[in-house]
Structures are given as structure tokens and as C-alpha cells.
Amino acid sequence: MPDPQPSDDALLRSLAERDLGALAALYDRYGRLAYSLAYRILGESESAEDVVQDAFLSAWRGATGYRRERGNPRAWLLSIVHHRAVDILRRKTTFRPAPLEAAELQPGDEDTAVSAERNVEHKTVRDALEGLPPAQRRTIELAYFGGYTHVELSELMGVPLGTVKGRMRIGLQKMRRVLERTR
């Protein structure tokens, strides 16, 4: 009997062999997450959908260029989504409002239909982020969701570039340890 849940790595190998079924499976697995990310960055559904379509097509065409040693398939796919969304954001405007802090990460409009497993994942990441000191958390959020470069953040937050880098470094290392513990 064929494996009903092929691994991400297996899906990517099939993608490289031009298997449309693998693309559909990958979309079913990560389309919603990719869209949520793009929407969070762009705040608008039409361009968020464009970004997701663009990113999955780019993965479809570029799957042969994927290298496992650069990160897992999920990280690769989401980095394409992120890159495209931020690219659009940076072109769209030179001024981006700073995202709200606590309110942004409340599960206000969370769909209750998401699986229990995913909710656990969501909660773990939220807890890991919320466990960070505010300055580290805000630096990471503004960089990743706000599309700010570290140089821009240094100006925006009024701290030296080295401080921004330090906050990113320490914040990500803390998250890494938290996530490793729960794996």
C-alpha cells in the first residue's frame, strides 16, 4: 500500500520529476500557511494570493535546484513566499507602519477547523516568541513580518546596528532551544 502521507522530502523529489500531484499535495500541506504568512506581511488578500501562486510555481520550476543542506523543504518553500512578499512590500512603500505588538499575535480570527496538531505547533511558536524579552521579540517581528532590514531597524529603533544584530542572534537562539525541547 502506498504511503498516504509522503514526507516533504519525498514530495520535493517528485516535484523535481514534474509530478503535478506532488505540487497539489505540497499546496494542500502548506498553501494555507503560506497564504497566512503572505497576508500577514502584505495585509491584503489579492497580492497575498499572487505571492502564494508565484512562490509555488517558482518551487515547481526550481525544485531541481533545492538543496537539503540549505534547510528542510518547509523552510525552503516558506522562504520563497517570504522573499516575494517582502519584495513587494519594499517596492510598494518606503514607509511601513510598525506592526502592533501583542494584539497581532492573538488568535483572534483563527479558524477553529485547523487540526489539533497544528494548533499545538502554533501555540509552541507563539509561546516561544512571547517568552522573549520585548526588544528581541519586536526586532524579530519587525524584520520578518515588517520587511525591515537590520540597518532600517537600527534607525527605527534608535539603537546601534550591533544591538539589532545581537537581539536577532539571541532571540533566534532562544527560540531554537525552546523549539528543540518541544520536538
Binding site: 501562486q53 528542510n72 517582502v86 513587494i88 511558536v125 520578518y144
Partner: protein, 253 residues
């Protein structure tokens, strides 16, 4: 080897570098395995951040659009013989770019609306002028006018002849074809051998770029036929064609 980039790896993983800095880091990572391992670990940490955002459902149509676009690309990408170079992401993206330039050529003017009608990414449109420059340095193209049922339609075979730019045909106003039929682009050599260069379905838009998976040089004619299959020898009727060997190389407007 260049200096390690440890200092910038966190910002790199978060996508918080300028393009120039990100390229510098990527170049270093490609050659340095300790930095590469650290970057991969950070990329996986960062890839959990989307789990922290409110979950949203895209429209159901997005899935269909994505699969249709991939399927159209898959037909175009199918090829009868091994290709001399990889048809990777960069190259296909270049095809998209070059198609934009050809839209200018075909329409005889800088028609901004034509760019929007092309099914291509905004980021590619922004690189239009770089590509135009590539074509300016020695690209060639030939126009094929449609006949009979294809009167009013046409296609421009573009051979950019620049590194990183694949040949392609930019079609306009293609009529729909019966289900089960495919359009096939052929390159015909001086000894009348027909080589299949691409098979595709019209996408229903008024402009459509179709990548060609072989070098154009060495052939003296290109043609498009309506076939029953994406494989095998030519059997269908010619719907458009052009001589390509002796045509003069026009100047880029």
C-alpha cells in the same frame, strides 16, 4: 575564502538584509560548510514564525489557478530530446523577461498594458530594461503570420542570443484548439528535418510566451502545426511559418 558571515546569518535567515548583502552572504554560504550549516539551522527556526500568525484560508480558486499554470508550463517544458542545458528556475524566469521585451517588439510600441496581460510576476516586469539591453546586444526575431483558421493570430520567434536567455515564441491572439489537439512549434533544418521544439495548448489569453528548448541556429525555417499528440513526427497542418536563416536581423526599436 572570504571572511565568515556569522555576523549576518541571523538577519539573512530573517530576510532582513538588502539584496546586495543577501547575495554576498549567499555566495559565502555556497562555499563554506560551517556557515551553511548554521544558516540552515537558522532557516528552520525562522520557518516556524509563520505558525505564530492568525491562520487564513486563501480562496478555493487559488489552488485551481496554481495547478493550471503549472500544467501549462509542464506541457511547454516537455521535450522530445535531451536539452543541452538545464531548464531551471533562472532560465524560465529569463524567458518571462524576454517575453516582455518581445511584447514591445510585436506591438510596435511600448504598450504598458501588454505587460500586464502577460502571465508573469511583477518582479520580472521590473527587470524589463535589463533584458531589453540583453536583446539590444545581438538578439534576432522572426514573425510568423497565421493562416486559415489562424488568420489574425501570429507568433514571433525570439532568439535573444545572450547568455542566460533562452529562445521562445511570443504568440498573440491564438484561437482555442479542439480538446485533444496541441500546437507544436517546429524548427526545420536545411535538409527538411522537422525537429519538435515545443508543444502547448493556447492559454486563452491574447499573449502567450512559449519557451523553446533547443538552439535556433542551424535551422532555416520555423513552423507551427496543429497535432494530435505532443510526441512523434509531424502529421498536422501548418498554421503559421517563417523562414529564419536568411532573415535580416532587425534593430531593436
Amino acid at each position: 575564502m572570504n571572511e565568515h558571515v556569522i555576523d549576518d546569518l541571523d538577519a539573512y535567515a530573517l530576510g532582513a538584509l538588502t539584496e546586495t548583502d543577501a547575495e554576498r552572504v549567499a555566495a559565502h554560504i555556497a562555499e563554506c560548510s560551517p556557515c551553511r550549516a548554521e544558516a540552515a539551522a537558522l532557516a528552520e527556526v525562522v520557518s516556524t514564525l509563520p505558525d505564530a500568525v492568525p491562520s487564513r484560508e486563501p480562496s478555493a480558486a487559488l489552488r485551481d489557478r496554481l495547478l493550471a499554470a503549472a500544467r501549462a508550463g509542464a506541457v511547454v517544458g516537455r521535450r522530445p530530446s535531451p536539452v543541452p542545458w538545464s531548464l531551471g528556475r533562472v532560465r524560465l524566469s529569463r524567458v518571462g523577461l524576454a517575453a516582455l521585451v518581445a511584447a514591445v517588439v510585436v506591438l510596435g510600441a511600448v504598450d504598458l498594458d501588454a505587460y500586464r496581460r502577460l502571465d508573469t510576476a511583477a518582479s520580472e516586469r521590473n527587470d524589463l530594461y535589463a533584458t531589453l539591453e540583453g536583446l539590444r546586444q545581438g538578439g534576432r526575431w522572426w514573425y510568423m503570420a497565421g493562416k486559415d483558421a489562424f488568420a489574425g493570430a501570429g507568433g514571433t520567434l525570439v532568439d535573444p542570443r545572450a547568455d542566460g536567455y533562452a529562445p521562445f515564441v511570443l504568440f498573440h491572439d491564438l484561437p482555442p484548439v479542439a480538446s485533444g489537439k496541441v500546437l507544436t512549434v517546429w524548427l526545420v533544418s536545411p535538409d527538411s528535418t522537422w525537429a519538435r521544439a515545443a508543444s502547448f495548448h493556447p492559454n486563452g489569453r491574447d499573449l502567450q510566451a512559449v519557451p523553446i528548448t533547443m538552439e535556433v541556429s542551424g535551422f532555416d525555417r520555423c513552423a507551427v502545426t496543429l497535432e494530435d499528440s505532443s510526441w512523434g513526427a509531424r502529421s498536422g497542418q501548418v498554421v503559421m511559418e517563417s523562414r529564419i536563416a536568411t532573415a535580416p536581423t532587425p534593430a531593436v526599436p
